[in-house]
Symmetry: C2
Subunit: 444 residues, 2 copies
């Protein structure tokens, strides 16, 4: 708020301030401040906005100024922007591009947004295998002057645009001028297919540590490059999706502050209701034990503690496994090793909590005499249940993501609700069964 | 498992298979297969391993072979590897490097791992402002042949190594050969300071979309560059840490499969015990209402449902805010807008669940006559409590991360336990208070 007031004093925002405040400014304020920036700052700001923000801005500025901003964008960024825009306006904006770019952009828009094809840039540096190194460098200089975005690698193509090899720019630069490109290039380059999912592309790029990967079709024709800066966005996007799904909601498509209230409620209410209906089984389970609770009301006192312990251990285990799967550290075929590990972990963690719990019941009893004579038996019931509940929670939490993945569902989105319901209901069954055995003849 | 058996048949793993299976192979199997790879594949595999994995491999292969592998690594990667290694062996490995690299590596090891200085590479392309463009390109070619890792940008330094400006390689390449570097370069380049936290560096790099950022000291002396591929690792690392902390545990330092059982239990047991002790307040709260439960056992039946609904809505809200803060979408100063938004969201979501809950109690009653005569009042109690609990859960969930950040704590690690305890205990208070008002004179 302080910066907002400062703004009114001298009535001008710097580019950095404008970027900071973008989300909370009105459309008019955005346009006014944007048009007031020095051209270089404005370009920096514009290209740094998310595609949706760029689209909104473009539709808000005077029609006559749209052309230069559309032409500022690289073809893949233009395609991303256009994908955010509905209806007739989309065609109008496409018409602002020059003819070759328009063709590139239309080709890119045909790909699904999450595919390698939807991420790639069609502008890459190309050389021929029979060029000399010095000739190749001159040819690259010419490409750099024309329409190349950035130089990462030079791709060696045959006359039918099939990818033969790759030279890093450094290799080309360091090679003797008279050598042939085909003798300098790396053959059998790592490639991705147009229809490969962006998450898989990100894993490949991280594994190999390249700045860019060539995108090819089924016949090895080179279609474009996916660059590391696109992948950084993908990594962020996928992590956010996983985190939000794990938090028990549908992933938002836009940043929190840019998501409309209605859209946010829809994304949140759905899962919350599903979770709620699932949790209703706890009421069914509790109803089965009404008789026991009526006899020993003290049993009800520990219900929230027991089920939350199961839930917490389940959520630890499923977070671990979901994240490890997302990073490719854990595969489906590792399931048996995970079972062994998590079974041991569950028992150990359950014992730790049981000891803490037993101490708690005993200390309370010594000080307040809350539970009356059979407090030792109540402590035993709580302790036994904790070991069972935490073990079941840990096992369910670690196995459900793997099972969901096995049947083709997204482990991140479906695990939390299933784990919660399963663990809460089975926690109640374990607790009251333990109570029946241990307290029979005393409290029950 | 299938691939393990296939391996025994033909007794050789390809580089890709080896990378896939790395985590589950024994040390002997790793060494044997690694040494059996063609040199180029082996190098690709080695540089793609995590620093810890590289260190373990290096210590497992014959002493005579260590030198070439140490020398394969760029100085920043060598420093990362050495930071994973304890005691005397560290010095032995440093001695394997050539003298200039050894100096670079020692300088890098002095930085904290999470700082810009700990991430940066000291090998960057430098030019002088008074060179001609063609001269600068020839000078860069010389640097490329020597010890440069990759060419991203050419940094323009004065005679005291102070950073004056930056040329993208493409700009230099496209400029007329006779122009001076100082006329082509961008002045006032975006820089990061050596001691800047890696998360802040990642945010800056993503915002500006550069492939590399120059690292400078307090007097603008250039120290190195942080490149985008280091940032991809940072983004992954930070997301994993946030996810694991959010799942209610300490972040693991290594991948799941490479973490020892003992280390994993320690990371998990601590928070689980803290959560457990926090949740004990639910038992205290429940004990206060033993009298009411004894009179109307049916009240106990809905306890798990009520508190889990509060917990779920709290966890949605805190996931959203924590992730939005991590991505820089939401700042502390936005707190009032968030309160308004989440208050409205909480009430709406609570009403949705209340309707679902009321329908459930009514349908059950119509079919099974579970709750007896005052079922309408019980439905009203549950519905009222749900609106209260979900609203409180949503508000606590969204505000606690902001408050923790405000007092300098990590919102990701501390929110989950605080939210859970606060929401569960306040949920019980809301539920039993509602019951006392609504059921007075009938069940209570």
């Amino acid at each position: 708020m302080a910066s907002m007031e400062a703004r009114k004093d001298d009535d001008e925002l710097t580019a950095d301030e404008l970027r900071e405040l973008w989300a909370i400014l009105s459309e008019d304020e955005r346009v006014e401040n944007f048009l007031g920036l020095p051209p270089e700052d404005a370009e920096d700001l514009f290209t740094g906005l998310a595609p949706l923000e760029q689209g909104e801005l473009l539709l808000a500025i005077p029609v006559g100024q749209r052309r230069i901003w559309m032409r500022t964008l690289a073809p893949d960024d233009a395609a991303d922007l256009l994908q955010e825009i509905e209806g007739d306006t989309k065609e109008e904006l496409i018409k602002l591009l020059d003819e070759p770019t328009r063709r590139e952009v239309r080709a890119l828009m045909a790909y699904a947004e999450d595919d390698a094809g939807g991420l790639m840039s069609p502008r890459f540096a190309r050389v021929r295998p029979d060029m000399q190194v010095d000739e190749a460098i001159r040819y690259l200089q010419k490409q750099a002057r024309e329409r190349l975005e950035a130089i990462y690698y030079a791709y060696v193509l045959d006359s039918e645009q099939r990818l033969l090899g790759v030279c890093s720019f450094r290799e080309l630069f360091a090679a003797a001028p008279a050598r042939l490109v085909r003798d300098v290039m790396q053959t059998e380059p790592v490639t991705v297919r147009e229809e490969m999912d962006q998450e898989a592309v990100a894993l490949m790029m991280k594994r190999h540590g390249f700045l860019a990967l060539p995108v090819v079709d089924a016949d090895d024709h080179m279609k474009g490059i996916v660059t590391l800066d696109d992948i950084v966005d993908v990594v962020d996007e996928e992590a956010t999706e996983d985190v939000q799904k794990f938090g028990g909601m549908e992933a938002l498509e836009n940043p929190y502050m840019q998501t409309s209230f209605g859209a946010m409620i829809r994304k949140r209410a759905g899962w919350l209701a599903i979770l709620f209906v699932g949790e209703m089984f706890t009421a069914t389970a509790m109803a089965r034990y009404e008789h026991e609770i009526a006899k020993a009301v003290v049993l009800a006192v520990f219900v929230p503690l027991i089920i939350s312990s199961g839930g917490n251990s389940g959520s630890q285990a499923s977070t671990l496994i979901i994240r490890a799967m997302a990073l490719g550290e854990v595969k489906l075929r590792d399931w048996w090793r995970i079972v062994q590990r998590e079974l041991a972990a569950g028992l150990t963690l359950g014992l730790v909590l049981a000891v803490v719990g037993a101490i708690r019941v005993s200390v309370w009893e010594a000080v307040f005499h809350t539970y009356g004579a059979p407090y030792r038996l109540i402590a035993l019931t709580v302790a036994t249940s904790l070991v069972g509940v935490v073990t079941v929670g840990t096992l369910c939490g670690s196995m459900l993501p793997l099972m969901l993945k096995r049947v083709g569902l997204d482990p991140a989105s479906a695990s939390a609700p299933f784990v919660a319901t399963l663990v809460d209901v089975s926690g109640l069954l374990i607790y009251f069964t333990a109570a029946k055995f241990i307290l029979r003849g005393t409290l029950l």
